[in-house]
Amino acid sequence: MSGLFSPRAWNKIWIYRGTFLLGLLNTLKTALVALLLALALGIIFGLLATSGKKVLKAISRVYVEVIQNTPVLLQMCFLYYALAFSGHSPGIIVTGILALGIYTGAYMAEVIRAGIESVPKGQFEAAQSQGFGYVGQMYYIIIPQSIKVILPPMTNVIVNMIKNTSCLYIVGGADLLSLTYSFVTGENTGGSYAPAYIVCGAIFFIICFPLSTFASMWETSLKKREQKAFQSGAPKEA
């Protein structure tokens, strides 16, 4: 364990705390903007998938299948090199935002599709019979009912995205993990492996653990409520 208990190694971490803060900042920045992009893509393709029109459904299906069945690392490399060799390199962070946003968008679309499909068909018909337009129907009737089903898996998708910011390493790396790696392998800063990795891991854990715990707790309580409804014999849908 190189330097786990050595005060010198820990001191080095403290001196170079700016590196970790910069990494954290880059990771958060990438994750936040990518999240917005993913949400936008997810909503668009989720709605396309539930639109009932064959062509729109097919478009959404193709996007989701192609993105979900190839590694995010490959997509990121592809995007980075394609842009770089054609002469307009947008920088590491922007590449990361685009790649992560597109990748996570496919998962968001699936989550949103499943959430909307969990609302019984009668609700759509009832809304239409009451004269709601598409937007009004979604906004007042469908979304409020599906949001409780959507939120837990969506939180898990977000946690995965935060972890996936580490993919930036392969295109040059400005995120927390890449900076930690270059810190421990750097010429002047190197050597204090254990303390640096503990700090880096702790930061990831502190961000991700509350989110994933919230998701799993919400899911458990949802399941319990459903079971209660099931046992009391009150059918939720007619």
């Binding site: 364990m1 069945n69 490959l74 490399c77 394609a82 972890k163 390493y169 392969i170």
Partner: protein, 268 residues
Amino acid sequence: MDTLGNSLSMLGNPAIITFLLNGVLFTLIISVVAVLFSIVLGTVLALLRNYCTTKKTKILKAVSVTYIELFRNTPLLFWIFICLVFCPVPAFVDQPMFGLSSVNNKLLFKAAIALILYTSGVIAEIVRGGLNSVPHGQIEAGHSQGFSMVQIMWYIVLPQTFRAIIPTLLSQVITTIKDSSFLANVAVIELMSRTKQILSAANRYNGTNSINVSDVFVLFGAAALIYFVINFSLSMTVRNLQKKRMAVGGRRKSSALDRIGKGVALDG
């Protein structure tokens, strides 16, 4: 795009194709081995987390919970980096085999350990979902028949658990195949890293003395296609399995509902 023909000619080069296909083989082997080991480790973790609730065994539960949460909430690449430094390598790995140098074998071993550690945390939660789906009455029934806890798990609970989670485990194989591309960060072994390596030497193979955009499209396109074919066929299998189950489960659920309905009627 006048360089497209040159780029495509790379895929006709037998040396490049063999190199890539060997990478595919490594990707598949690494993923399957990682999932198999993770199932064993994950099952143990899930059992500890679910059933070690007495005072004496509580510490085991705490260990398992810590392990699962720790690995689920930190990136895979983080564990790959850590294993590169801290993972001990047995001597038999430290020699040239499988057509890889001893350095690459060591890297492969370390990265595979990281992949197993990471995946087992995920699989533990999948197994736990399966364990929870087995009705508690089965355990009580086992006790009443004189089974010990180990026998109950082995003969009654685990077979039902694994039958229930086969689709989820298969989709975890897909995730692991995608995750194995993270090895590209540290070594040239599997498909992703080999694609990247060919790209960086593309100027020597495509006959134009420079790396062009079309090379990126052809090489990464080919790799993406390979990943897609493997993963898509797996996910189709998963979907078919689930559909079949829905059909069977739907029937079963309705009969369970009927029984509940009858029970209510009798009680009433």
